[in-house]
């Protein structure tokens, strides 16, 4: 049932993680619509430059499209769609989570204490209407595209406002955009790292309709009983397509032309407490029977330097072996080494702890706890909790002993059902651990650890090994939410209908 996707109709940021295509710089813009008619004209103007999902100058069917120096994409909150005067019958069909917006869902997401919306950047004080992204291969292209957008805003004659209120590097709190960028090493080369030093962006889900499936699917699709991997149903990530329950997603509003080939996006600005993390890692590694890097790998499920999955390289010795094989491998084999694994040989969590970031956000087949045939497929409890991850780090670390610098990650999760996919993982698997038989233990890196009642994580060992488990105690909050909201990313067709005021749900 693999039909090719209409790539000309799907916005490019759904299909591609631009960071992997040399788009090193980004700006995220948020706008308010003051007048429906002028707002629609603005959307029409932007749509002429919206980047689609077509392949860039690759071999294969279809026209060769030049890879642009800058991409542009656009999405809307519920109140934004209302301001664009979509018909009530269409608006009514959007799901509750999207309508409420992320700030109102803070109790589900665990955005409390320092992550509470009252502490978010000024831009989030009132609900935004439009999200736009510009991803660029260099700063010149970024600024050129940004200036073009600003021109469209000015041409709207007050119909649309570019909102200010983002925090910046120099302590400003009223910038008109959120800047983001890959991190560079000492030689000035772009790296896939984030501010805690981890290698990010490995292992995006793979779904039907994508190209080059057989090469990309191991470890990234859904795990079948015979140990092979299959692509996930398209409808887990794109509205209007059949999902894993063999249905069309019910989160799609009417009419089909409005929702098909669109999806929902969770945008979260995540501040990283770099000083606290470094101090915490240093302190904890003093009592840890292994190197500091091994402990850091236990937190995340991957080693910091090259993203080696710890389940495949559980200690310093095996990591050295893994590194040798990795260096000798070709590009395709390297990708496979990074993603093609299960936790089947690690039921007890002795290699990759159950509270490691990787295992919590994607337990693969391990919720069967080694009982073959517990579910229809090993990944049955996991397949419908996957998200497409997009985004880039922002800011820079000037003082690695401090928390209050401007540094973190702009994180975006793309999925068809915010509540079932993103919110579930956040609430049940990151901030809670019942499914992992770990009680209330929160995930080390992303958990909303409570300073008044700090929690713990247990690093298990193999039963019968004679070693004691290792406790990580008094975990501080390492990541804080500084803003965000829920957006609808329309297809190109839907954008044109919205812009023309011709969305018709009858």
């Amino acid at each position: 049932m693999t039909k090719d996707l209409d790539l000309t109709d799907i916005q490019g940021n759904i299909i591609k993680a631009y960071g992997a295509y040399n788009y090193q710089k980004a700006r995220y813009l948020f706008l308010r619509i003051n007048n429906g008619d002028k707002g629609r004209k603005f959307v029409a103007a932007i749509t002429t430059k919206v980047t689609t999902g077509v392949s860039w100058n690759k071999s294969g069917a279809g026209p060769a499209v030049e890879k642009p120096m800058a991409t542009t994409n656009i999405a809307f909150t519920y109140v934004g769609l209302k301001a664009l005067e979509l018909p009530t019958a269409s608006l009514r069909g959007f799901p509750e989570d999207f309508m409420m917006g992320m700030a109102k869902r803070k109790d589900i997401l665990g955005d409390d204490g320092p992550s509470d919306p009252e502490n978010w950047d000024n831009i989030w004080k009132e609900r935004v209407h439009i999200w736009m992204s510009i991803n660029a291969q260099n700063t010149e292209a970024l600024i050129e595209r940004y200036n073009w957008v600003v021109q469209q805003v000015e041409a709207s004659g007050g119909g649309v406002t570019l909102l200010t209120g983002h925090r910046g590097d120099a302590g400003e709190d009223d910038l008109p955009y959120q800047e983001a960028s890959v991190l560079y090493d000492e030689a000035g080369n772009p790296t896939p790292k984030e501010h805690f030093g981890y290698t990010d962006g490995i292992g995006d889900p793979v779904f039907e309709g994508q190209t080059n499936l057989s090469a990309r699917v191991p470890g990234r699709g859904k795990l079948m009983r015979d140990g092979s991997w299959a692509p996930l149903a398209t409808g887990e990530f794109l509205l209007g397509h059949v999902d894993e329950a063999m249905e069309y997603p019910k989160t799609a509003p009417s009419p089909t032309l409005l929702s098909r080939n669109g999806t929902y996006m969770v945008y979260r600005k995540l501040h990283e407490n770099v000083g606290t993390f470094n101090h915490f890692l240093d302190e904890q590694s003093k009592s840890f029977p292994g190197s500091k890097e091994m402990l850091a790998a236990k937190f995340a499920g991957r080693w910091r330097d090259n993203g080696a999955p710890i389940v495949k390289a559980p200690d310093d010795a095996s990591k050295a072996e893994w590194d040798k094989a990795f260096e000798a491998a070709d590009f395709a084999e390297q990708k496979r080494m990074l993603t093609d694994f299960t936790y089947n040989d690690d039921i007890h969590g002795a290699k990759c702890p159950y509270s490691a970031h990787l295992r919590r956000i994607n337990p693969r087949g391990s919720l069967e706890y080694g009982v073959t045939g517990a579910y229809e497929t090993p990944g049955a409890l996991d397949d419908r909790r996957r998200i497409l991850r997009r985004g880039l780090p922002y800011g820079s670390v000037k003082d690695a002993t401090r928390d209050d610098g401007n540094h973190g990650i702009i994180f975006m999760a793309l999925n068809v059902d915010i509540q079932r996919q993103f919110e579930f993982v956040q609430q049940q698997w990151i901030n809670y651990a019942n499914d992992f038989k770990e009680g209330n233990d929160k995930e080390v890196l992303l958990g909303n650890h409570d300073a008044r009642h700090p929690g713990k994580v247990v690093l298990q060992v193999e039963p019968g090994s004679g070693k004691p488990p290792h406790f990580i105690n008094n975990i501080p909050r390492l990541v804080e939410t500084r803003g965000g909201d829920y957006f609808f990313i329309p297809s190109i067709t839907a954008l044109k209908l919205i812009a023309a005021g011709m969305v018709d749900p009858t």
Binding site: S287, K456, F471
Partner: protein
């Protein structure tokens, strides 16, 4: 007969509420509001009723009517007769059932003997209502049929037993130890986890010394205190 699972009992009680009203407010609505307004967590009256694991109060208005169920037959005889007679169609529909009263439903999973538990309800159920008045169990059952005849503990026990239903499919969500045992166990588990965290990597001598002090502080044999108080929901 309440269903037991070891020492645990699933008590299910349906007490009919008087039909009628005070002014324009029905007895059922008065009872419902009193249930709604019960204080929660450590102020709940259920924390005072010994050995209550988990209890629930609600008003049952009526039964649901389920219309014609789907079936796999290609046709039913009534499909034919219904073409000719509407009365035949109506006859084929399931009969409608209604309750003659609204009911106060009280269900409780508890440890131990039923009579002892009901005595605990009569004697210990106590709280301050949202108007600041001290209340006991009679405030909830006040408008139930014939409850005005209940004047003492024996009368209350007899009344409740008359209202009892047998519970089927009783799934007890914990062990069947006494509530005090369970709460003490929860408390000890948390304290001991903390102790283990704090003593990771310490010497055997230091652990043993601190453990003695730990035992003296948490008093494992003492079920009264220190412990996790009933109704407390957060640390």
């Amino acid at each position: 007969m309440a269903t037991k699972s070891g020492n645990a009992t699933a008590l299910t009680v349906l007490s009919p509420i008087k039909n009628g009203a005070i002014g324009e407010t029905s007895f059922a609505d008065i009872t419902r509001e009193r249930c709604m307004r019960l204080p929660i967590h450590e102020q709940s009256p259920l924390t005072k009723v010994p050995n209550t694991y988990l209890a629930r109060l609600f008003i049952l208005d009526d039964v649901f009517y389920e219309s014609l169920p789907a079936n796999d037959s290609i046709f039913n005889f009534s499909d034919i007769t219904s073409i000719f007679f509407d009365s035949a169609r109506k006859k084929a529909l399931p009969r409608k059932d209604h309750l003659k009263s609204k009911y106060l439903v009280f269900s409780s999973n508890f440890h131990g003997d039923l009579d002892a538990y009901l005595t605990g309800m009569w004697e210990k159920w106590s709280y301050i209502d949202n108007k600041g008045v001290q209340r006991d169990v009679r405030h909830i059952w006040e408008h139930c049929v014939a409850f005005d005849k209940v004047t003492d503990c024996a009368g209350f026990i007899a009344y409740i037993k008359k209202c009892q239903f047998e519970a089927s499919l009783f799934f007890n969500g914990s062990t069947d130890d006494s509530l005090q045992e369970q709460l003490k166990a929860l408390y000890l588990k948390q304290e001991f986890t903390q102790f283990a965290m704090e003593h990771q990597g310490k010497s055997a001598v230091e652990i043993q010394q601190d453990f003695k002090a730990f035992i003296a502080r948490v008093q494992p044999e003492n079920l009264i205190a220190p412990t996790w108080p009933p109704g407390k929901s957060t640390p």
